[in-house]
C-alpha cells in the first residue's frame, strides 16, 4: 500500500481526512512506466477511504474511484484545482472498468464505503459522482434505496470532470463514449509484449538454439517466431482499425503470414520450401493466437463475439501449429 497523501490532513465533523494534491512527481511517473510494462501491477494500490483535494467544504462534490494507484493518480492530477472529496473504494487494486465487470466496484462496496465515511455528516448535499465505467457493477437505484444518496454517473475520462462539474454535472455525448485511439492502444503495447514474450520467447529460443550449430543460426531460426509475437502484441494493436477484417484472430493471421514470410529472407534463414511453409504455418498460428488475446485489452469486443471467433479460430490455430511443427520436424530442422 502506498499512502498517496501529503502529510497534511483536514479537520472535519467526521474526523481528520487526509489531504492530497493533484501534483504528480517522479515517483508517479516511474510507477506509471512500471504499470505500462506490467511490473507489479497487482500491488500498486492506495488505502481505501476518504480523501480531500484542495479545500473542500460541505458543498463540494464527492468523487468515487478505485484504489488502483494509477487510477487514483490520474484522477487527482485531472481534478487539480478543484475542491472535492474523493472516496476511494477497495477494488483490490483493480481499475474502475475491470473492477466493475467483476462486481468488485459494485453496489455493495459503494454502500459500505459511503456508510463508513459518514458522508451524510460530511456533506450538505445527497449526491455522489461515480465514473461512468463503474456502471456495469453498480445499480444506481439500489444505492439510492440503501443510502438515500443519488448516484450521478460522471464522464468516462477523469480529464472531463472539470467540464462536467462546470456544466452542473452534465456530461456531453462525447464524454460518455469510450474510444480506442492510437495513443490509447500504444499505451497497452508494453504489457502485451511482456506478458506474451515471458512465456513464449524462452521456449522458442531454447528450441532454436538446441537445434542449431551456431548461436547466430539459432537466432535466425527463432526470428520468425519473434516476428509472430510482435505481430500479435505490437503491430495488430497499433494498426487495429485499418486491418479490413473484424475478427482479431484473422487480423493476426493476415498481418502475420506475410511478415513472417519476409523474416525468412534473413541471411542464413530457412532455404527449403517445405521448411519455409512449416515455419509460416506455425508462426501464423502464434500471431493469430496472440492477436486474438488482444480482445481482452480492447474497449469494444463483446464476449459473444469473442466466443464466436474463438470457436472458429482455435481449431485452425492448433491445426496450423501442429502441421507446421510436423513439417519442420520431418525436415530435420530441429534435429
Amino acid at each position: 500500500m502506498v499512502m498517496a497523501a501529503s502529510p497534511e490532513s483536514l479537520a472535519t465533523p467526521v474526523g481528520r481526512v487526509p489531504r492530497i494534491t493533484g501534483r504528480l512527481g517522479g515517483r508517479e511517473a516511474f510507477g506509471r512506466l512500471r504499470m505500462r510494462l506490467g511490473i507489479g501491477r497487482s500491488r500498486y494500490r492506495v488505502t481505501p477511504g476518504l480523501y480531500a483535494i484542495g479545500s473542500p467544504s460541505p458543498d463540494s462534490p464527492v468523487l468515487v474511484t478505485a484504489n488502483y494507484k494509477l487510477t487514483f493518480d490520474t484522477l487527482r492530477r485531472d481534478v487539480d484545482g478543484i475542491d472535492a472529496w474523493i472516496l476511494v473504494l477497495d477494488t483490490d487494486g483493480i481499475n474502475v472498468w475491470c473492477a466493475a465487470g467483476k462486481g468488485r466496484f459494485g453496489t455493495e462496496e459503494v454502500v459500505t464505503r459511503v456508510q463508513q465515511a459518514r458522508l451524510a455528516e460530511l456533506v450538505s448535499h445527497r449526491t455522489i459522482v461515480l465514473p461512468q465505467l463503474a456502471a456495469p457493477g453498480v445499480a444506481a437505484h439500489d444505492v439510492r434505496e440503501r443510502t438515500g444518496l443519488r448516484v450521478v454517473y460522471g464522464p468516462v475520462r477523469s480529464r472531463d470532470i472539470g467540464a462536467f462539474l462546470e456544466a452542473r454535472m452534465h456530461a456531453t455525448e462525447a464524454m460518455r463514449r469510450v474510444t480506442f485511439s492510437l495513443p490509447e492502444r500504444a499505451e497497452l503495447v508494453g504489457v502485451e509484449v511482456v506478458e506474451h514474450f515471458k512465456i513464449v520467447l524462452p521456449v522458442v529460443l531454447v528450441l532454436a538454439l538446441l537445434g542449431s550449430h551456431s548461436v547466430w543460426a539459432g537466432l535466425v531460426r527463432a526470428a520468425p517466431y519473434v516476428v509472430a509475437l510482435l505481430v500479435g502484441t505490437v503491430v495488430v494493436p497499433l494498426v487495429l482499425p485499418w486491418i479490413p477484417v473484424r475478427s482479431f484472430a484473422l487480423k493476426g493471421a493476415v498481418v502475420g503470414a506475410p511478415l513472417i514470410a519476409i523474416s525468412l529472407l534473413l541471411p542464413g534463414g530457412i532455404a527449403s520450401l517445405p521448411a519455409a511453409v512449416g515455419t509460416v504455418l506455425a508462426g501464423t498460428a502464434i500471431a493469430s493466437y496472440s492477436a486474438m488475446n488482444f480482445t481482452g485489452s480492447s474497449t469494444f469486443t463483446s464476449p459473444s463475439g469473442v466466443e464466436r471467433e474463438m470457436r472458429r479460430a482455435l481449431p485452425l490455430q492448433v491445426g496450423a501449429l501442429v502441421a507446421g511443427l510436423v513439417t519442420l520436424a520431418a525436415q530435420g530442422i530441429w534435429g
Partner: protein, 96 residues
C-alpha cells in the same frame, strides 16, 4: 455511430445478446448515460436500440435499469478469460 465505432473499430455483427422490452421501459434514460458505445437512443416515451452490433455486453445498462426492461448475457470480451472458463469449466474470468 460514435466513439470507438466511428473510427473503424467495429466487431463481429449479429452476435450481441442485448434485448430491450419497450413495454417495460419507463423512459428514465439512465441506460443512455451509462452505455459507453451509444447503443441506445431516446425514442419517446421509451428508448430504442440504435446500434446493437456496437454493444460490448458490459451489462451497465441492464444493471442500472430499474424496471428491468433490458437484458443481456454480460461478461468480459476477452479471449484469455473465455479460454480459462472452458478449461476450468467455470464462468469466464480475467486475470487483470
Amino acid at each position: 455511430m460514435s466513439g470507438a465505432a466511428q473510427t473503424g473499430l467495429r466487431y463481429l455483427p449479429g452476435v450481441v445478446t442485448l434485448e430491450l422490452d419497450r413495454a417495460r421501459c419507463n423512459g428514465c434514460g439512465v441506460c443512455l448515460q451509462v452505455c459507453p458505445h451509444g447503443v441506445l437512443v431516446r425514442d419517446k416515451p421509451a428508448v430504442a436500440i440504435r446500434d446493437r452490433d456496437a454493444c460490448m455486453e458490459c451489462g451497465a445498462c441492464v444493471v442500472n435499469c430499474e424496471p428491468g426492461a433490458l437484458c443481456v448475457t454480460p461478461g468480459v470480451g476477452c479471449a484469455w478469460a473465455i479460454l480459462r472458463g472452458w478449461l476450468r469449466r467455470s464462468e469466464p474470468t480475467c486475470s487483470c
